[in-house]
Symmetry: C2
Subunit: 405 residues, 2 copies
């Protein structure tokens, strides 16, 4: 099935917003095994919109549009599809009533112009939109499909997941499930190499993605029933886990700080941080994580040795050339000062030509706790500007690994 | 002049990356007064790429492409343009030498496949790319133009600013300059209303953009000479400043933390922070800002009253119901503890139904310094999840305002 995505709205052509809908839909279509050959954006101009739609209708089997479903004269998607198919727009009484109810729930009267959003053509059915006023359209004619969704990403994604995806899966007569496995500390090339025996499989498929917090591996399985697809995923996940082992830190919607927090809570532990090299990146990740008030005590961020000493670090240690020792002392300080059961200290070498002879971008991560087996210092190196952000991820990854042991 | 943008690369159609190049180019073209009618993305497939190029050639005056200029067999932009224009690709000796030099500077031999990047057709000239190995192409034929740039956003933007934009301006026989004025603490609707008398002007034009760190106003002026355009901008900027006054905190590439840091350095001041509500957001912004080690001492991030007390806050103040007083005490603590001349304290009400009767999302910002006139506490309110990030911007905005006084 050849697919095409059309984003509609003059704001896209003025560069006022970045079109994230297209990449969202593209990644979903690739999971569904639907081939996406073209994407395009077009402004709120009747002739050009109709031109783009006509071309897509001629060369593709299924067309996804986003945007242009609002209540104003500039919202032309419905009119353009009606013109393309030579059909007439009519107000659907039920849709109109739903819109009136939507406004009534907010204590408002429906503006007259919104009735445009309650129109259909004979070939279209409405896709409900509980997130906004614009219903979507599912159009079928001459063996082709047009799916029109609203432009705001939240509304579009909700409609996709609840209305469009189930219809596509039903049509395909197949259940398609995915699972994202998240790793850290290994390059994409190395992960690809490790999984080389599994990747040629056409079903389930494997694909890797490089993200700031590591390499992700997506498993996608297609089967006749959901149960069967779930079993295929589970078996392939077991294969992947057997190969990748403890570089895996999470799945699907997991974040590193979320996984670390869950494990700390399960063990009844709490966490405090002292950092310098990373300038508050780790403290900020933990301090703004959901529910982190249940395990995160706080963070000390010190730019200089003087500040470290003022915050309680032994002056001999603060000025030590052994940065691993400084990191360890900071972990101990954070834990003791803030009354946490686990402390993390991060130090780093940021000089461009450090006297120490160390590689700039070398980072030292220490984890300290009452349990002796949680006491460890590691060092990593990389390009300076990247390491400052990645060091926080390394620290969380180390913590998760240690908590697992 | 009718323009069109084509993004090239199968990764775009798999949803692996979001195409930010298109929105960058779109916003630049809108400043230049070049009408962008279509944008599209196409994969690394010769027939489909040629089809999209042919269509663009037929309907547009100038085509911008990004991507597909790499050294592999999948990089098809050069071949597709050559085929479109019926011209032959030939290796340009000078480009080849530059590539050899590029690799030599890194102690490497040029891989044989990279010679593809040194090819030209008779209608194309090379756009140098000091950021990477892929030169761009400027193609002129039959009164039409194709500009091909590399896909990595850093390389593309550098080439745009240094090679493409000057050529376009020269062609237009006009100088076009822009200036971004940055404000904070006022809604976009209110800014639009305040500037209503200035916005109908066709030259210079005004446009507003809502960003996380405030509302931006872009002034764009077109004139015969650069000097004239510069004067038009200066006059319009003066008008805007007269109307908006002290809600303006910066221009062009300024960041709030950068502006605050510059002012602190000029006054010979240093800064320390203590925060709870904002979970480290302000500390992280300052701690990771360029050159911040010259004025930023560090931050204390405390999740609970107990931690505040452990870090040195008076127990009576830490538990006070008067959060403005707590914020003030935290500002004093940060300043004194870390030996800074200015301290910022941030407290907030994050309870969903706070006993205090305050609106959730109310934030208290205190700034303390040796100069009595820098001692102030303000409070703001807003939706909780937004306020946690905006509170850090409010604090910096307050700091900048106070330093100006």
């Amino acid at each position: 099935m050849k697919a095409e995505i059309i984003s509609i709205g003059t704001e896209l052509l003025l560069g006022e917003i970045v079109d994230t809908n297209t990449s969202f839909l593209a990644s979903q279509l690739s999971v569904l095994g639907i081939d996406l050959y073209f994407t395009s954006a077009v402004g709120d101009n009747p002739a050009r919109l109709q031109g783009v739609l006509k071309q897509a209708w001629d060369r593709s089997d299924i067309i996804f549009t986003t945007g242009g479903l609002g209540p104003t004269q500039d919202d032309l998607t419905r009119d353009a599809i009606a013109a393309l198919l030579g059909e007439e727009l009519k107000v659907a009484p039920q849709l109109k009533q739903e819109l009136i109810n939507f406004f009534a729930r907010r204590g408002l009267e429906m503006p007259a112009s919104n009735v445009r959003q309650a129109t259909l053509i004979p070939s279209s059915t409405a896709l409900v939109n509980p997130q906004g006023t614009a219903p979507g359209w599912w159009v079928e004619k001459e063996g082709k499909i047009i799916v029109s969704m609203p432009g705001p990403p939240g509304e579009m994604q909700y409609m996709w997941e609840n209305q469009v995806l189930p219809r596509l899966q039903k049509r395909a007569g197949a259940a398609i499930l995915t699972r994202m496995i998240k790793t850290f500390g290994t390059s994409e090339a190395k992960v690809d190499e490790m999984l080389a025996d599994l990747t040629p499989s056409p079903n389930p498929t494997l694909a890797t993605y490089a993200k700031l917090d590591g390499i992700y591996i997506r498993i996608a399985a297609k089967a006749e029933t959901e149960e069967e697809a779930r079993e295929m995923i589970a078996r392939r996940e077991a294969d992947v886990r057997a190969i990748l082992g403890d570089i895996i830190w999470g799945v699907d919607d997991d974040s590193q700080e979320g996984v670390a927090g869950r494990m700390l809570l399960e063990e009844g532990l709490s966490l405090a941080v002292a950092e310098s090299f990373t300038g508050g990146f780790l403290t900020h990740m933990l301090g703004t994580a959901a529910d982190s008030e249940r395990y995160f005590k706080g963070g000390l961020v010190a730019a200089t040795s003087e500040v470290k000493i003022a915050l309680g670090l032994d002056p001999n240690l603060a000025n030590s050339e052994d940065k691993a020792e400084v990191a360890r002392a900071m972990a101990v300080l954070a834990r003791q000062k803030m009354g946490a059961t686990v402390g993390i200290g991060i130090e780093g070498e940021s000089g461009v030509e450090p006297e120490s002879g160390m590689v700039p971008g070398t980072v030292f991560i220490a984890i300290d706790s009452e349990k002796a087996d949680l006491h460890t210092v590691r060092s990593y190196s990389g390009r300076l500007y990247q390491m400052k952000r990645r060091a926080a991820y390394y620290a969380l990854f180390d913590l998760v690994k240690l908590l697992k042991e």
